[in-house]
């Protein structure tokens, strides 16, 4: 499998961090996912082979971590936190607003493949609630109107 130079150099560097190969697995899977969009069968087989693990061992780890996915997602993954601090400041309304706006529910993707939506657990933005992450970017102190302009920004940036 051909992966970017950046991935390869980071992978090679990480292997020097630990006494066992397997230790690079979790961050490597996330970097791979960033690169190819999701953890495909081919991607899983590639990592398994590199780390001398079985595909099953890799899948076993993938299924544990909520950021890792074996299904393709939209280009922009909109993650709305509805945990307690966000709940109190309108996180659920924000999620409902996004559902209506994007026309999709939890873990679904728009037909044009641009946006995915996800209700997520606490993302560590409690004092700036309600908050969301689009891919890795934090958006805080949100309102439905602010969320609209956030979504618009990504739509125009594609």
């Amino acid at each position: 499998m051909r992966l970017s130079e950046q991935f390869e150099s980071r992978f090679a560097e990480m292997l020097t961090h630990y006494p066992t190969k397997r230790s690079v697995l979790v961050p490597t899977l996330l970097y791979l996912q960033d690169e190819i969009g999701y953890l495909s069968d081919e991607g899983i087989a590639e990592i398994a082979q590199r780390l001398e693990l079985t595909d099953l061992e890799v899948r076993n780890v993938i299924s544990y971590y909520s950021m890792l996915t074996t299904r393709p997602r939209g280009k922009f993954n909109v993650q709305i936190c509805t945990n307690i601090a966000c709940l109190l400041r309108g996180g659920e309304e924000l999620l409902e607003h996004c559902e209506a706006k994007l026309g999709i529910g939890h873990k679904r993707t728009t037909a044009d493949g641009l946006f995915s939506l996800e209700e997520v657990e606490c993302i560590g933005a409690c004092s700036w609630a309600p908050a969301a992450q689009v891919n890795y970017d934090f958006h805080e102190n949100l309102t439905p109107a602010k969320m609209d302009s956030v979504l618009e920004k990504y739509k125009n940036a594609q």
């Binding site: 996330l30 971590y65 601090a85 409690c126």
Partner: protein
């Protein structure tokens, strides 16, 4: 990225470099950076441990164990390499403080890890940052690279005969991994399920070697203790609760934010003075004092000192410093449900009481909130929660049970108001919720 706030009552120790550009290594040096580690290089390991022990620094992740004491459990001689592991998997709902340290003062993390290493005789440290905090991982990666390029990490650090390596490590979304033994499993490339203890990590940790695991804020406090001295730090707070804490104020407050206040600061004052009081002048209903896992406090209980021992006395916990304030418009059944939904989602499934308990509780609370509750369910929620307590390998089961028990106990009336198919009194009228399947 996150907004910074300030209040005159703040005592800035861990946050003293916030907003001052200290991610830049030269700027960090101007702000007394890397002085503590150089001082520690001239100290005996036992002297470092004692200094931290006497400072009264207690684990900022939630358990509140004396940090120096924890370090003293690491055996002096070990055939296997020893490690320092910084826990930056901040995920406890209500908590957003480590994020600010990584964002504004990453070199303090490096200093803290090196000093812990010098104290216990480790030469390798790992800084584990949760996967969602990608921008912080990048800040940390740069800080580590800069420290290597200056000779502060690697061979012969600061021209001494000591070597120390620090590596970054990113997670991929898992609350459970914040538990120390699950954290090690995750770092070793596995599912984050807890290990059976004993042996404790201080004796058998990462790859079988003795390992010191501390919360990010705990380690970031260490350089200040080394420079300022144990007495100075201890005297910032009440006895046995040294120093300051980053309190994350959130929920129905006029001025939410992360404030650094002395340990033992009065909770009522924290809410009404520092946090600016309840949003829109409404009435207070309840306070989560230390992250979602801590027993909830009623308005009559908030005249309390925010330190580990005082919170224990009122039947709660200081936890991770996440103070979540709930006003009179909050439905406590819904709040209990949201907490349980979280723990059910995050339960790793390893221990049956937690896996089954959180699932049943979530189902019962969902049905209850939707109007399908029976009177006996109220006692059942209590009973199920109590049966999780102390019956799991890690504290996740307790974390799910403790707030639930306290909410049912202190707000039983609200549960009763949901009985007999009545709509939630706090929901907007006309909203029909889908009734879950009865099980």
């Amino acid at each position: 990225m996150a907004d910074l706030v300030s209040h005159p009552d703040e005592v800035r120790v861990v946050s003293k470099r916030f907003g001052k550009g200290a991610t830049n290594i030269d700027r960090y040096l101007e702000l007394d950076g890397y002085k503590a580690v150089q001082k520690a290089l001239g100290m005996q390991p036992d002297a470092i441990v004692n200094e931290v022990k006497n400072s009264g620094l207690r684990g900022r992740g939630g358990a509140g164990f004396n940090t120096g004491m924890k370090w003293s459990f690491v055996p002096k001689q070990s055939p296997k390499p020893k490690y320092v592991l910084c826990n930056g998997d901040e995920s406890e709902p209500g908590t957003c403080k480590d994020r600010l340290i990584f964002e504004h003062d990453p070199h303090a993390m490096i200093e803290g890890v090196i000093i812990a290493g010098l104290a216990v005789g480790a030469t390798t440290g790992y800084i584990y940052i949760r996967g969602e905090y990608r921008y912080l991982l990048e800040i940390m990666q740069k800080a580590i690279a800069d420290a290597y390029s200056r000779g502060y990490l690697g061979k012969n650090i600061f021209g001494s005969d000591r070597h120390f390596d620090i590596y970054w490590h990113g997670g991929a979304g898992a609350y459970e991994v914040g538990e120390e033994s699950a954290l090690m499993e995750s770092l070793e490339g596995k599912r984050g399920i807890p290990r059976i203890r004993p042996p404790f990590p201080a004796v058998v940790g990462l790859w079988g070697g003795p390992t010191v695991i501390n919360n990010a804020e705990t380690l970031a406090s260490v350089p200040h203790i080394i420079l300022g001295g144990a007495d100075w730090y201890a005297n910032l707070g009440p006895p046995k609760n040294g120093g300051t804490r980053l309190f994350c104020l959130s929920g129905h407050l006029e001025h939410p934010g992360v404030y650094e206040l002395p340990m033992g600061y009065n909770l009522k004052r924290m809410i009404y003075e520092v946090g600016g009081g309840i949003l829109n002048g409404r009435k207070l209903k309840a306070v989560v004092p230390g992250g979602s896992s801590t027993p909830i406090l009623s308005p009559e209980e908030i005249d309390v000192a925010m330190d580990f021992d005082s919170l224990t006395k009122v039947g709660s916990m200081l936890g991770s410093g996440g103070v979540v304030v709930l006003d009179e418009t909050t439905c406590m059944v819904k709040f209990a449900l949201r907490i349980m939904k979280f723990y059910q989602h995050e339960s790793c499934g390893w221990c049956i009481p937690c896996r089954e308990g959180t699932d049943w509780l979530k189902k019962t609370l969902t049905r209850f909130h939707a109007g399908g509750g029976l009177k006996k369910d109220i006692d059942n929620i209590q009973y199920l929660s109590e049966n999780m307590l102390g019956r799991t390998f890690c504290p996740l089961g307790d974390a799910a049970a403790m707030p639930t028990i306290s909410i049912v106990k202190k707000f039983r009336k609200e549960f009763e108001e949901h009985l007999d198919g009545r709509p939630c009194p706090f929901e907007k009228q006309g909203k029909i919720e889908e009734l879950p399947v009865m099980v």
